[in-house]
Symmetry: C2
Subunit: 157 residues, 2 copies
Amino acid sequence: MHAIDGTDTRLLTALAKDPRRTVVALAQKLGLSRNTVQARMAQLERMSVFLSFERRINPAALGYPLMAFISVHVQQQKLQQVADELSGIPEVIEAYGLAGQADLLMRVVAVDAEDLFRINGKILGIDGVERTDTSLAMGELVPFRVEPLLARGPRTP
Amino acid sequence: MHAIDGTDTRLLTALAKDPRRTVVALAQKLGLSRNTVQARMAQLERMSVFLSFERRINPAALGYPLMAFISVHVQQQKLQQVADELSGIPEVIEAYGLAGQADLLMRVVAVDAEDLFRINGKILGIDGVERTDTSLAMGELVPFRVEPLLARGPRTP
DNA sequence: CGAAAAACTGAGCATATTGCCCAGTTTTAT
DNA sequence: ATAAAACTGGGCAATATGCTCAGTTTTTCG
């Protein structure tokens, strides 16, 4: 067994609903033996189903209430260098290489508008960065969720 | 105490590093009493420092290896309706209202390119959606992290 | 500055959980 | 049909948890 099956998705759904639930309680809820839940959890862990705990930490609560998406046009063949420089800026919380209009899209958090301006300046100062477009996030219109995907059951990859 | 302080950031850092650590082990590591760690954790929970567990679930492992960012131009005064429609599409895992070039930016996952095309068609079919721009994510250049923010210690909000 | 409130400490208790082992049964893969 | 994988439920020892408590320390506020 190395693809996610219906029992795994049910387990993930239950976990998502109540992340602090004990293995015993999960087993009860799912009608499985405790050992099975343990074994399945261990397997999900091994399969890298779980991303970092950091994703659960709200930057706003850390003092960074502003969020922005900054797309960047990068000089040819300098993408990796730019990425390395970006990773040195603490407020850059993630960055993706893109196939599309821009070369790179990052998510940035900031203390306030001034801070954002400063960060943007920093990004513009990176060798290889040609142009940036900044879009301030005004609010979550669809809050993050994977529950609808889980509810559909497993997909054959 | 209702702002995050240095002890909280240290606690979050330790948690981020080892999410399955017991309260007893965390207390030991941080040189605090068990009760204090428990009390602090409870407070962080109350303060909504922790976002949903779902954010830790990797859509790729669920059978959605493709990710794309789709920006959308929306007809005036239809933003909320569009958002409601988007939330009915399971593959739309989050969407932000923007101040910038586009009105809305969403993150979409898909099984394959065909699936992505289908989803895009669905989005274009929503009343109020004028235009979309799709950028396929080719890879994480800066993987998600808030550790550098935590390492800086608390920020006064 | 002093008093009060908040936060921290360490001890303790009863109960629950965990990691792991085991042998038997059921399900899946070949 | 057979073998391997997965599941089951039982069990054990060690540890953790939720919670209480009284004393101490730190922070807040007038």
